[in-house]
Point group: C2
Chain length 428, copies 2
């Protein structure tokens, strides 16, 4: 049996998972590859910490990347550190020294994926990154190797487990955002500083990667318009349910004649849509191609073993590529991306206004909307006895820009107390 | 730009779709491969029929396979004929002459997949078959290239669009099997002779393919225990709904210590399970791996363009393999399959009995079940005024063999008029 020695950069949740999977499923992996894969070296900050963990004693821990790059026996480096810049330097060094790389690092791929792919091609080494989007769900390879005969029109997904857990708890149990966030933190789904998840930045990186693959155009995190779930209230969730919708944090990449748009924002989605049933920390991604129609992928988008499942499949493919004598790297096309102006993106909206409970309020609101040629699909005024009443509207397809102007004008009406929320309705 | 000439064997729904996709998405395909793919020759039975269709005039139609095999310019042959034996001969001939093959033919792959993969490896050519399972859903490549680091415990899916359409209509509208079948025939979802679909043979071929890939063991159509949906009545569907379930035709491959089991049968599945929401002619497949957990794939399992989407991705991968200098073929491991005896497969069951509306009936039934150590989860006797009453039971985990014996003894009770149905309950 052949032998391949690999190194890990990082030994956190994912790195530890990779070591576990290679041990646990060693026989299955070996018989497919006729190769034994051994983790020889692992780069960590604090060596002492890991030497006390129950990991195979043959693993050499180091805090010096040079030990790994200089080891000629290591032909494959697995980067599972997170954070972009140091990882990028390490990976470039690996490529230059003829080592292939597998990365699970979405920050890195979202920012530097295409330049790194180009460098790996130039250096005739492999670069794989299945785990960088949606953990164990095999969406990355599907985009470039299975749906590649399609013109991709739309990618829409729930790509962040933390926010999906929070919204699911709010939906099922009627609790507030703050209560659900606290629970998620207790259960380990959300970090102490939850910003990266709840503000949508994590999902934005993933949709940038899928957009790049789907549209063959280089888009990055900075091209994504991001809006988080912090403003979603129990009232919004309840109103959505009453109207036949659930609220999800959606990452959306679309391409039409005007260009590419990339958005992360909370959205109303019909209860009957397959994505509506993606609950808790699970992820779900729908891809619409001009031949295949809608294809959906569902599974665990994070976690040690699910993410390691994707990393190990990449490791296996790199090893296999060596065996079947691959001499070149797939060419990832990347055009200059033509971005569509956000202001022109249209969708229906849910609006929740808090208004003075006086006569003429609805007339005032309707008049403003009519000025902007916004038609009202439905309007519910809740039977409030208090001074402040709630008005819930569903308005027809309107551009972001027009809605913003109308909201500004509405907020200036004396009868309007607060624009509590404006959430896009996704019609898929 | 490079040029690749291909031939199609067959020009039915899928073959026509392949021609359409290559034309429609030509620019996207060309820029990814830096290659123009041209359909040069097409094998058909009746040349005149196709020459009158609105297909690119450069295509040469022939009814003689020799024209294709002798054409040195053709390096890739796409087999979209259906039926196994003639297709197998043609493909073997292609391999021997150094031509790679893409096949969408589930009958062929289910029966001869592994021997053909071995031959293709021996002859150093490519053999791809993504479209042979679930049309446009990228499940085949996911099994061997993305989930390959997992020990696969279970594959469970809705893999036949015709039966899913029929069951969906029965569920949503309360119509009978016969009415739904007739509708499916009128809409073109079911053939005049629907046996292959409704009896489960089509799904059996697909689960044999996925089982082979997932368990690295050669299993064929003949290893699948098959039961169709012909006996499902409107009453069964209504009872299922009342108990929180829907009925789906499920294709199930499982592997445990006792071996592999392959089954196609109608099953009760909880309304909240993702597969329960796979409606109409759509397909859905859940794969459970020991690292990744549950992953689900959903999409159009048939149809001209969705299936062609998978075929074209295979064509592109074969062309790409040539470009990136692949000199070998992936090694598909195949052990001798150790099959688990069907009699020992356990599941809960739904039983529907028609009984004489007399006293002592329930006691009689319960006594027989107790004799076989079968415990009753729930029992509903419908308040019937007629002579014949309906008794609906959910029984706990019991082996197929024991349930069959108990049913035989129940049918011999004088108070039992008919065993109307016994349907397995799938707990996933």
């Amino acid at each position: 049996m052949k032998q391949v020695s690999i190194a890990l950069l990082g030994c956190g949740t994912v790195g530890k998972g990779v070591i576990d999977v290679l041990l646990m499923n060693g026989p299955i992996i070996e018989e497919q590859l006729n190769t034994k894969i051994t983790v020889k070296r692992v780069l960590v900050r604090d060596i002492n910490k890991y030497e006390q963990m129950n990991l195979p004693s043959a693993i050499l821990f180091t805090n010096n990347f040079q030990d790994i790059i200089d080891d000629e026996e290591i032909s494959l480096v697995v980067e599972v550190m997170g954070s972009a810049d140091f990882a990028k330097e390490c990976i470039e060094e690996c490529f230059k020294r003829g080592k292939s790389v597998v990365s699970a690092n979405k920050d890195l791929i979202a920012d530097y994926g295409i330049p790194l792919l180009k460098l790996s091609k130039e250096k005739q080494v492999d670069f794989q990154f299945e785990a960088s989007v949606a953990g164990g769900i095999p969406i990355v390879r599907a985009m470039y190797a299975s749906l590649n005969g399609n013109k991709i029109d739309e990618i829409i997904g729930i790509m962040n487990g933390t926010t999906n857990y929070i919204l699911t708890q709010m939906t099922c149990r009627g609790i507030t955002y703050e209560e659900a966030l606290r629970e998620a933190q207790v259960k380990g789904y959300a970090e102490a500083d939850p910003t990266n998840d709840v503000s949508g930045y994590d999902a934005a990186r993933k949709i940038a990667i899928l957009g790049t693959l789907g549209f063959h155009s280089e888009v990055t995190f900075r091209d994504v318009q991001v809006e988080g779930i912090e403003k979603i209230t129990a009232e919004d969730i309840r109103n959505a349910l009453e109207m036949g919708y659930v609220i999800k944090l959606l990452a959306i990449a679309r391409q039409d004649k005007e260009g590419i748009s990339l958005n992360v924002h909370p959205g109303f989605i019909r209860k009957t849509h397959p994505l509506a049933n993606v609950a808790d920390a699970y992820n779900g991604i729908c891809v619409r191609g001009n031949c295949v129609g809608d294809v959906m992928f569902y599974g665990a988008g994070a976690g040690s073993l699910p993410t390691a499942s994707a990393v190990v499949s990449d490791i296996m493919n790199v090893v296999l590529h060596e065996h079947i004598g691959v001499t070149g790297q797939r060419d990832f096309v990347s055009h200059e991306a033509k971005l569509k102006p956000q202001a022109s993106i249209c969708s229906p909206y849910y609006l929740r206004l808090l208004v003075q409970n006086t006569t003429g309020v609805l007339a005032g609101i309707a008049t403003v909307l009519a000025t902007y040629h916004i038609s009202i699909r439905s309007l519910i005024q809740k039977d409030e006895t208090a001074d402040i009443a709630e008005v819930v509207l569903l308005i027809d397809q309107s551009s972001h820009c027009v809605v913003q102007k109308a909201l500004k004008e509405l907020s200036e009406l004396t009868c309007v107390h607060t624009i509590a929320n404006a959430i896009r309705v996704i019609e898929v």
